[in-house]
Symmetry: C2
Subunit: 413 residues, 2 copies
């Protein structure tokens, strides 16, 4: 194979069908941003939209904006837009709460739909909040639910006739490995179980077809590939066939059939609307909607094609430029099993990542030993990959990561 050069990568940028979208984002000078799978970059249009919500809708419209500015419609409107990115049916997605809270709702719904089963199957290396929420719900119910944690390759075998729900993160936060959603969902259904997918590292980054896979339930994150801002509202999905029977553990007034009738007893709203609990976070939803609107401009096939090309290029560049530095890629090489990141293990990953960030290459560290580089096709250039790997190479060659300041542990890593 020919060596990659900056020139050859610049050529890829020139033919990139998504290249114009980068201009919609604010990206600071001197930064190569490969952490969009932790916090997406800021769409430039967010300032104007948030200012409009604050000054006109809130400041002038005041309480009237719940009707006049359609605030009450926002969870469904933004949810429907996200639904288009993940292959969801109409009226099956809501933007609300946090991923963790939504996961609690969806697990509660799953157990309500499978009352005679008591096993939740998941992956030991799943993102911790998924495991913690499941553990907490099982402890709360105190009815002997088992959280059965296995290795990724053992998931299908672990699903049996006691399994209520298989709860997996489609793309693993740590390794970047991606499950075959259709196959695992089919296996769950064959055993009478439900499939609940966490799309935190999928929505906006890889092609997802919830309806086509016959997925049952899903949740996902607004602040990663959807670029909704720090702590943006999350989303949830309930397949239309389950909506009427779904019983939610969180039964708030805005999920009531008639919130403003102020009835004493809870009556669930129709369909997906019962997924709403409290008052929608209007300002945050407005920021999220700007990010989602940009994602809808980019055909998902083009996003996925560029993502796979960029992860392949990054992987190849690391092999070409950084051989001999004890880096070990843990992300699968097979495109069918790879999300939109490259994770590299190294014994001194923490210090190396701090040194990279000081040089302007922003990825993140994931305990205990992973350098994680997210690929965000909407704003990352191929030339950035070259420049980033040159920084990585330089940091490794000079061993500047051994500077004691890079060993200082920060709260958020």
């Amino acid at each position: 194979m020919m060596s990659l050069t900056r020139t050859s990568l610049e050529a890829l940028d020139r033919i990139d069908p998504l290249s114009q979208i980068r201009a919609l984002f604010e990206l600071p000078d001197g930064v190569i941003y490969m952490d969009g799978n932790s916090l997406g970059a800021r769409p430039k249009a967010v300032t104007a939209r948030v200012t409009e919500v604050v000054e006109r809708e809130w400041g002038v419209g005041l309480i009237r904006s719940w009707n006049d500015a359609a605030w009450m419609e926002m969870p469904g409107r933004v949810g429907a837009k996200i639904g288009r990115l993940i292959g969801a049916e109409a009226d099956s997605v809501m933007a609300a709460d946090s991923t963790s809270v939504n996961l609690f709702k969806m697990l509660g719904v799953a157990l309500s739909l499978r009352p005679d089963r008591n096993v939740i199957v998941s992956e030991r290396g799943n993102f911790p909040t998924d495991l913690y929420i499941a553990e907490g719900l099982a402890a709360l119910l105190a009815r002997g639910h088992e959280l059965r944690l296995v290795e990724p390759g053992a998931v299908e075998h672990a699903i049996d006739e006691r399994t209520a729900v298989v709860m997996l993160t489609h793309v693993n936060y740590h390794t970047g490995a991606m499950y075959d959603m259709a196959a695992i969902t089919a296996r769950a259904h064959a055993m009478g179980a439900l499939a609940l997918w966490d799309l935190a590292h999928s929505a906006g980054a890889v092609a997802v077809d919830l309806a086509g896979c016959a997925a049952d339930l899903a949740v996902g994150c607004g602040y990663k590939f959807l670029n909704g801002g720090p702590g943006a509202p999350a989303f949830l999905y309930v397949a239309p066939r389950h909506q009427a029977a779904a019983r939610y553990p969180l039964t708030g007034w805005l999920g009531h059939a008639a919130p403003f009738a102020f009835e004493t007893s809870y009556r669930p709203a129709p369909g997906i609307h019962r997924a709403i609990v409290g008052t929608p976070p209007v300002i945050s939803l407005a920021a999220l909607e700007v990010g989602v609107d940009i994602a809808l401009q980019a055909p998902m096939e083009a996003v996925r094609a560029k993502s796979l090309r960029q992860t392949a290029v990054f992987s190849e560049l690391v092999a070409q430029e950084c051989a001999g530095f004890d880096l070990h890629q843990i992300t699968p090489a097979d495109p069918a099993h790879r999300g939109s990141q490259i994770s590299l293990a190294h014994p001194h990953a923490y210090e190396i990542m701090q040194a990279l960030i000081a040089r302007g290459l922003i990825g993140d560290f994931r305990a205990p030993d992973v350098l994680r580089f997210g690929v965000t096709p909407l704003y990352l250039r191929f030339a950035d990959l070259w420049d980033g790997v040159q920084i990585l190479k330089s940091v490794l060659q000079t061993q500047e990561w051994r500077d004691p300041r890079f060993a200082v542990r920060r709260r958020v890593t």
Copy 2:
């Protein structure tokens, strides 16, 4: 008693020690805003602060701002500020999630602290989300918990040795009636039960002394008297003596003792920190903090004194100007039992309120028959009360509320 006049009310404005604070809020021309107990007015400084968060902290700082801009500290920092408004001890309040979700957490904590008891006592006329959340939690647990709903005067008698927790909204959203927090908390404790207070209509409006009352748990709202913006994050309180034993039903990664260790099993963070579930909503928290900072500028005694004076004046003006129009005040006349609103029952309350709003007097309708007028001492003037009651009088005299357009039901009322 001498009649009230606009001149006499202008005189009260001139000696109002809080009069300068109004200038910190945006209040549109032609509007008399008496719905700050539903959605508080916008602090002018919100635009600049939110823009700073969006453009500098998110746009330039990107993921680094979790450390560099202290985003991770926001729930605790904003929570501590709210704590000063409600008489909470240090490290006992967090700003997070919605009131409904926080109520679910606090009810779960309460039941975990009283595992041998199975009754939740509340008021039949409590705000519905409180009742729905309790009903949903009881259904989820399926262990025979009873939600015992009584009339306000029967609450103390309803607390018995089976009562795990008394859950009340301190100031009733509908009537504006206020409970004696110290007395009911003492009665709960005497029976071995806990007291959980919803401060939605109290925080920032009336004097609250959680520590002094020995309250056990509390929740409250960020978008009413705290002026945090539409759908602002809510807050919760856990008395220090309960924090170590508190088991939460929602166990998310940011409530873990070591979130970035990515452990497989949940270990609760120390103290109040385990109350956090998912990633904090940074932009919304920043807006809320601006509102809370303003509330902290106003001595609570002055706020409460002005609030009581204004509700008294409004009540008196209605009696003086609108006699004979079938208005019936349901808010207690006794200041010790009155929050910061005046609720007036009328058979055509819905239509009348729509007509008032069209004329620029914004209150709200509460089913089935209440005109609700919130008093927000930080930005409401005594002269506004005169002008507002003149509008009310005119709408009643002219019967313009009979125009069919005012009978059209809007989604949010």
